[in-house]
């Protein structure tokens, strides 16, 4: 039987991602990428049972559908082709956890390009759904490579707008904007400061605040009395390892 002492960094990050969805109720939980996938499903399997989530193709499974085992038995509760996903985005009943190639202190996210967008040094995914997501519903980010190259002073392209852009935009356009949480391989971050600047919410076990500060190219709030990210419970470890991610898909992001 596994114990909490044996929880590995990928499992701690999965739980931190799951925690981002706490309190969301009956909405579409839409994480992107293996660690957030497992996290979202863990939230649904434990403390947020009313969430719905996609199989990443086109349906909502009602059972504990594992990541990385496409042929696993699936109880389908509804159909969400891409058009319906966009409709749900605009309805607001969604919380997405996206990746970010770059993020800044206001939560501006870049997944589009590195360098000048007119002729980028590196073309990335493109804007994808980030502009629409941010102005319509809650968004969180998962960043497995926390460094001064990803936590930057200024992003090259704003795909998903952060709090400074939203302040500029003002009401009513900013009313659905919330960047809830950023989970990295070093810690958990939020924007719970007076001016919505990024703050350390917790550092993962074994990580120091100095390490986080050094890996971040802007000044982080909340560097005093920093909490430690909580460990997975035995039930959570069982669900992660045996039920939700039996092939260890979550570990690929830590190699």
């Amino acid at each position: 039987m596994s114990t909490q002492d044996e929880a590995t960094i990928d499992e701690i990050c999965v739980v931190a991602c799951a925690e981002a969805f706490r309190g969301d109720g009956e909405i579409l939980c839409n994480p992107i990428g293996p660690v957030p996938f497992v996290g979202g499903r863990l939230a649904r399997a434990t403390f947020e049972p009313d969430l719905v989530y996609t199989d990443t193709v086109s349906v909502l499974p009602a059972n504990n559908f594992p990541v990385g085992v496409p042929d696993a038995p699936k109880v389908v509760e509804s159909w969400v082709p891409y058009r319906t996903v966009f409709d749900i985005v605009w309805s607001g009943k969604r919380h997405v956890m996206m990746g970010a190639s770059q993020i800044d202190q206001w939560g501006n996210q870049n997944i589009a390009a590195i360098g000048d967008f007119r002729q980028p040094k590196a073309q990335l995914l493109g804007l994808r759904g980030a502009p629409g997501n941010l102005v319509n519903h809650t968004t969180s980010y998962w960043m497995p490579n926390h460094s001064t190259r990803s936590f930057v002073a200024s992003v090259d392209v704003v795909s998903g707008p952060g709090y400074d852009r939203m302040r500029e935009l003002g009401a009513p356009s900013n009313r659905y904007h919330e960047v809830r949480r950023v989970v990295s391989n070093l810690g958990v971050f939020d924007f719970q400061t007076d001016d919505n600047r990024m703050r350390i919410a917790s550092v993962h076990p074994g990580v120091t605040v100095e390490q986080v500060v050094e890996a971040t190219a802007f000044e982080l709030a909340g560097t005093d009395d920093v909490a430690e990210t909580r460990l997975p419970t035995d039930e959570e470890l069982h669900l992660i390892r045996e039920v939700l991610d039996p092939t260890g898909a979550r570990k690929a992001e830590f190699r």
């Binding site: 058009r83 995914l125 759904g129 502009p131 629409g132 941010l134 795909s159 852009r165």
Partner: protein
Amino acid sequence: MTTPKEAVLAVWAGLQERAIVAAMVDKRMTEDEVISELKDGMTIGIGGWGSRRKPMSLVRAILRSDLKDLTVVAYGGPDIGLLCAAGKLRRAVYGFVSLDSIPLEPHFRQARQSGAIEFTELDEGAFYLGLLAASHRVPFYPTRAGLGSDMLIMNPELRTVTSPYDDGEELVAIPAFKLDAALIHMNRADAAGNGQFLGPDLYFDDLFAMAADKTYLSTEKIVPTENLLDEGPVHTLRIQRIFTDGVVEAPQGAHFTECPPDYGRDEAFQREYAATARDPEAWEAFRSTYLDASSHADYLKALEARS
């Protein structure tokens, strides 16, 4: 002596037979006949999504034609990548370009990074509204998507509108994507151009068909109209022939993209394609083996000959 019921059934059978005959407008054509109707500088919409159910036999027919300076509008995958690599594009209009299992499309990246193509990069939901506006013949649809992000900076031609109602909210006006032609691939179709998708998602193919002046549909298999419901329920019949101008029968026509339930993505072939972006010699070999094939039938033979 026929009973009244038998008489009614006989009349019904006759009506059905005549109805079928009357419906059979025959729009069958070859890939090259489709491409001969396209012109330099046209704006062409391509259906599917990423590396999923793309009309690849039609895309390859463009590659081997003299067409140039095209603007392509798509939820982009290898269609945009191949057209970039072959120098066919003046502009790409997209929300993303991805091979799905390979997140970044390497040929598209090269074209963007070398400045070889012009581009219109939009939020992927906003992109849907551009298709919808063109389908409905209105100049734009409003959306909140794009406010606060760099979408409006990257696309200075985009305008905002103010709600005429009491809320006075400012929204982005996504302009209609007027398409000269659209290319889509369906699992099944009849010769008259009624199309059927049997996979998990139609994507936006019905909107591409409605948004375009001319729509050309390739299909895994042309079936008689009366057999269209043999393999899927009525709500899989999402492309109506009033929106189609040509039908091309192309088994494996979406290869190497996926076309479920007929076939999955050819991941090995896709990896081979992606690797050609790093190696001009590999690209030339790939091109001469697969892209220079003079017809879809020859392409299928080249596929069979793969070891």
